[in-house]
């Protein structure tokens, strides 16, 4: 947990933003976590704190290290002005082009020219976000995996205008974060969502058409292919609302049948069966909290 010289800004303290802030603060970066309202910010900070409590319990860090990370490294704020010292600003706000453009414009006004803007978008075009960021050559895609605080992999995607220097500095930054940065081509869904969205939709469709039960499909995939989770267990983590939104976003861009959400997705969203977060998806759940330690 060495002290890094530069600071990192994270925009949005939702699921991904909180996870990315954990990764950054844990790696020793002073981390500025920006939200739009106090309540959401406090909720995010509380989740992060509870995550580190678990880390201490599991012996992954000492209580002193936790204090250092929570009190010194991590700073929650509602003010974009606090981003002035950041070498990197990573946005993890809603998956909406206008919102993403707007937060980068705000950051652009306060950040020095050398600051790199990184978007955690899953389905939007990096080029399009970069174009309106005020610094298209210094904007890049860095797509963390859910749950970011546990998963090491990050997909790095250059937009058309992203400069070589920005790309090189981003790859260096990945090492300091202790993450594995893998370069992808700018294509809808990059690598992971391109595969997992299609795969999960194929499982939902087959279940809906009566090929086999949810339990049997999960069991077959886990034990037959050695995957860590069955598709339906995974979907309950992802959330059916997210599955719907990501499916539609990818389908719209490539018009490929594989991405089209099977009818059951909408029915489950309509019924509020979103997965773990609502206590019921393909399976039923009790209690919520952040994944991993």
């Amino acid at each position: 947990m060495s002290d890094q010289e530069k600071s990192v800004g994270v925009l949005g303290a939702g699921t991904m933003g909180s996870g990315i802030a954990i990764v950054s603060a844990r790696a020793g970066f002073k981390t500025i976590l920006v939200e739009r309202d106090k309540e959401t910010l406090d909720k995010g900070l509380d989740l992060i704190d509870r995550f580190f409590v678990k880390s201490v319990k599991k012996g992954k860090m000492t209580p002193e290290q936790k204090d250092l990370v929570m009190k010194k490294n991590l700073i929650g704020t509602l003010k974009y002005e606090d981003l002035t010292d950041c070498e990197f600003v990573i946005e993890a706000v809603f998956e909406d082009l206008e919102t993403k453009k707007q937060v980068f414009c705000q950051a652009n006004e306060v950040c020095p020219p050398e600051t790199i803007f990184a978007s955690n978008t899953s389905t939007l075009s990096v080029t399009s976000i970069a174009a309106d960021s005020g610094r298209p050559d210094r904007t890049i895609g860095v797509h963390f995996c859910l749950p970011a605080q546990v998963m090491k992999l990050v997909e790095v995607t250059r937009g058309i205008q992203t400069s070589d220097e920005t790309y090189d500095r981003t790859m260096e930054f990945g090492k300091k974060l202790n993450q594995v940065f893998v370069t992808t081509v700018e294509t809808p869904g990059f690598i992971l969502n391109h595969f997992i969205v299609a795969f999960n939709n194929s499982c939902i469709k087959a279940y809906e058409e009566g090929l086999a039960s949810v339990e049997d499909i999960d069991k077959a995939i886990k034990l037959g292919l050695g995957y860590p989770m069955g598709p339906f267990e995974l979907l309950d983590y992802i959330g059916m609302d997210t599955q719907l939104q990501v499916s539609l976003a990818l389908f719209e861009q490539v018009q490929d049948q594989r991405f089209w959400p099977p009818p059951l997705v909408r029915r489950m969203v309509d019924a509020g069966h979103l997965g773990r977060k609502t206590g019921k998806g393909f399976y039923e759940y009790k209690g919520a909290g952040m994944f991993g330690a």
Partner: protein, 286 residues
């Protein structure tokens, strides 16, 4: 009736692994293969499995003689006449499987269960060559057989529930978990896996990712045991081409259409690890 003695038809590739798994669980195993050379190769491979298991500590040294003594093998099909279950594990040729099911029926008891391990043909078609189709079904083992816990027990149209129950119970005795699958092309696992693999091959062919990036992303990002290109190198590009072509013939679903790059590589002799090169290069010792 209980399954006490097991027969295996075909002593190459998966046949050897199945023989090892079944014998390892304490069953007497009779292996029939019409090809004498295949029998010799199979016996050698079987011995190697036993030795390697002892080396790696998964098998006690004292068990060696016992396991070897449980195995009988020969080129005469009457060797199988008093087994309770025959697991047919011949090369994946439909005509051959159909013929062997009918030949086996002439040899075995009327209540002997006949199971095919086919991954891409109709289990119902193969089963109906048996004199007693209600005693026939599919047992689809997943590769690598010693690692993957799953057997898909495939219910052919005429399989009786008693036969299904008997085989599900037998699988648990040999340390396998089961799902009972419909006899629809690809059953469960391959119905999802084959399109995924084809998608990865096309994605790579279209220049959307380099090998390492694609393999690393899917392995680390999704927690898969291997990335798609190193996985297909391991299992053999020609095997995947055969599987996806057969499934495509039956489904005519474009997701199963053989990717051009696959055909190209197989035509060019790049079959994966077994030929020394697939998407990656392998030296002989690795």
């Amino acid at each position: 009736m209980k399954i006490e003695k097991v027969g295996i038809a075909g002593f190459e590739g998966p046949g050897v692994e199945i023989a090892y798994i079944v014998a390892g669980a304490g069953y007497p195993v009779a292996v029939w293969d019409a090809d004498k050379q295949a029998l010799d190769r199979g016996k050698n491979a079987f011995n190697q499995f036993v030795d390697r298991a002892i080396e790696s500590g998964t098998l006690e040294k004292e068990k060696k003689e016992q396991i070897l003594s449980q195995l009988t093998s020969g080129a005469d099909v009457t060797l199988l006449k008093d087994v309770d279950l025959v697991i047919e594990s011949l090369s994946d040729d439909l005509d051959l499987k159909n013929k062997v099911f009918s030949d086996l029926s002439d040899v075995v008891r009327t209540d002997t269960v006949l199971a095919t391990t086919t991954s891409c043909h109709s289990v119902t078609e193969i089963s109906n060559n048996a004199t007693n189709p209600e005693r026939a079904l599919g047992m689809h083992f997943l590769k690598p057989l010693l690692e993957r816990k799953l057997v898909e027990v495939v219910r052919a149209l005429n399989s009786s529930q008693e036969t299904i129950d008997l085989v599900v119970d037998f699988c648990s005795k040999i340390g396998k978990e089961t799902v009972v699958a419909k006899d629809s092309p690809g059953f469960i696992v391959n119905y999802f896996f084959v399109p995924y693999m084809n998608q990865a091959l096309n994605y790579y062919d279209h220049g959307l990712g380099d090998k390492k990036g694609l393999d690393t992303a899917l392995k680390m990002g999704l927690g898969y045991p291997k990335g798609p290109l190193s996985l297909i190198d391991q299992s053999g590009l020609n095997d995947h081409l055969h599987l996806t072509s057969q499934l495509y013939d039956r489904l005519k679903d474009p997701l199963f259409a053989p990717p051009p790059i696959l055909k190209r590589m197989v035509d060019g002799g790049k079959l994966g690890k077994k030929s020394g090169q697939g998407f990656y290069k392998y030296d002989e010792n690795s």
